[in-house]
Amino acid sequence: MGGSRDRTDGGDSRTDGCGAAGSGSGGSRPVDGRGTGGNRPAGGPGSGGSRVADGLRAYRLIAGMWLRSTMAYRASFIMTTIGNFAVTALDFVAILLMFSRVDALGGYTLPEIAFLYGLSGVSFGLADLAIGSMDRLGRRVRDGTLDTLLVRPAPVLAQIAADRFALRRLGRVTQGALVLGYAFATLDVHWTALKVLLVPVMVVSGWAIFCAVFVAGAAFQFAAQDASEVQNAFTYGGTTLLQYPPTVFAKELVRGVTFVLPLAFVNWLPATYVLGRPYPLGLPRWTAFASPLVAAVCCALAGLAWRAGLRSYRSTGS
């Protein structure tokens, strides 16, 4: 258990084809390629909505290409998916080993911890699946392949997000989902409609918060290209932290992940409501429902960080 965990994620050692692509800047092109500058419909870059649509389209296309690349090595894909599952399952094995000696940890029972673990695993796993390779940005800056993405008619963020899309990361999602299923089966909770509703809200908000962390981490790599492992402390470290109840950790640490890097909104606070536990730091009850709002703010801030990073790259070339 430790910093180098992602190494065991079953990384493929193949050479990078640095595939890149983008979506168009608007509908039709004049058939005559010799027109002067202004005669093409200006589309994409202008309005926000179409930019998002362009980005999603580019993401889909590039992720699809990576998917097909993966399937060129089918056996390796199956193996790495199993590996991804097994490696992430070790975290839960550690918890099971602990519970072979105790009945509660930080006052939480095994089903309760499994609930936290499953939520953390699924929401982080989905973020990892969606944009987990963004930590390769530093490498792309170093070897210059980022430039090949900048000459494509698509948002760079979408292209980088889809980079090395790896379906094997479903291993982690599956593992988290299984633990979550175990939690549902064993939890002694009086399920109300609100509590049931809160579960998918948690997963989606948690996914968005972790995505924001990935994007902000990548933005940081514009400044420090060799520092991809710093990101691991917040992504892999973050999900590990959230597998345990907040009662385990020092107050300062809990404060840090509530007010500075609001990981607590991924599962701790909403789950506190579901499990009927006392709120960490004596926070008010409504904080359990603030996750979507927190996630939106995180995404906005990460977007700003990304823009600043990309702008600095385009003005310094490094």
């Binding site: 084809g17 994409g44 698509a154």
Partner: protein, 368 residues
């Protein structure tokens, strides 16, 4: 594009020759007009006005000490390229070539000056510009390594939203001219360097770009592949009127393709004109190597001069702008010739000579 050309570039040292004139090279001489029929006076398809790029470079000078200084990678470059021109853009490593191309493609934002490509400001409208330009990065393929070549093209088709008929037409044409038919179903990782380069060029052209930037398109290729690539580019330029800007270390690329060549060094345009003029400006020399039947005293055929003798082999240097044919005829008249070959000067040598010649390198003067 070579990245090392950017902030890590050579520091500017002292005096650059032709300080005044090289700073604003202005219009290129009239001889080029014939190749660019639709060019109106004072209007370029690619326009640069006093474009600058200044990098802040932090350098580690001690264990913890860092020094900050500014590097002017591009230092007030102005030029215009008309639609349909084919221009060689050359210079030593770290001269500012790549930085210029990166600004032209919208990758980098200029620190100063005005820059337009097809009327678009590349830094502001990067994605719109992307539809109009094609870029081939010499040693960095944009093809998908593990997938058949055709898959990369299908992606371009959808990414650039190329109309179906147009895509098919362009693809067929590229496949035919670049001889890709047998390679379309081969995974890119199995292609040779030359095949991959041809594949990359095709990928950059499927969306009918008005401008094609090529960075070292023939580097590392064998003679046959080089010839294929050059023939294709020549045809593309002639048939389609695609404007081509290429950086290269290979003078033969320039000789066979470009009517115009621009030399950049220390971030400034040192020369802008025809290749022959470059040789004259640099006073560069070609070398004729002759193998005689037997050892003879050095042959005297002015303006050529013997620079080396080794047994029956002699090396004669002569101005690069002159034809070798009359020289050979004169030698053959006088001496028993067994074999001969001509060695071309390389770009670095030409540019080095330009420096050695001192401050005569103003663009206007040397080009005419």
């Amino acid at each position: 594009m070579e990245l090392d050309d950017g902030p890590g570039g050579e520091p500017r040292t002292g005096v650059a020759p032709g300080e005044e004139s090289a700073g604003r090279p202005g219009e290129r001489p009239g001889e080029g007009l014939s190749e660019a029929p639709d060019r109106k006076p004072g209007e370029g398809f690619i326009e640069l006005d006093r474009v600058e790029k200044v990098f802040d470079v932090r350098k580690r000078t001690g264990f913890l000490r860092r020094e900050r200084r500014q590097v002017r990678a591009v230092d007030g470059i102005s030029f215009r390229v008309a639609r349909g021109e084919m221009v060689g853009y050359i210079g030593p490593n770290g001269a500012g070539k790549s930085t210029t191309i990166k600004m032209l493609t919208g990758i980098l934002t200029p620190s100063g000056g005005r820059l337009r490509v097809a009327g678009i400001d590349p830094a502001r409208e990067r994605t719109r510009l992307a539809q109009r330009i094609g870029v081939v990065f010499g040693q960095r393929t944009t093809l998908w390594w593990d997938l058949p070549l055709i898959d990369s093209y299908r992606l371009m088709h959808r990414m650039y939203r190329i109309p179906d008929a147009r895509y098919r037409e362009n693809l067929d044409r590229c496949v035919e001219l670049l001889e890709l038919a047998d390679l379309l179903d081969v995974p890119v990782r199995q292609l040779s360097l030359g095949q991959r380069m041809r594949g990359d060029i095709a990928a950059a052209l499927l969306h009918d770009p008005d401008v094609l930037y090529l960075d070292e398109p023939t580097i590392g290729l064998d003679v046959i592949s080089k010839a294929k690539v050059r023939a294709f580019l020549k045809d593309l330029n002639a048939e389609r009127g695609t404007t081509v800007l290429l950086t290269t270390h290979d003078l033969q690329d320039i000789e066979q393709l470009c009517s115009r060549v621009m030399v950049i060094d220390h971030g400034r345009l040192m020369y802008d004109g025809a290749l022959a003029g470059l040789h004259a400006a640099g006073g560069s020399e070609r070398v004729l190597v002759v193998d005689l039947e037997r050892e003879l005293p050095p042959i005297e055929v002015p303006p050529a001069r013997v620079v080396r003798v080794e047994g029956p082999r002699q090396w004669l240097a002569f101005p690069a702008a002159e034809s070798a044919a009359p020289l050979v005829a004169r030698i053959a008249d006088r001496c028993p010739l067994v074999d001969l070959s001509v060695r071309e000067p390389d770009i670095e040598a030409v540019i080095a000579r330009m420096y050695a010649q001192g401050a005569t390198g103003g663009a206007e003067r040397t080009a005419s």
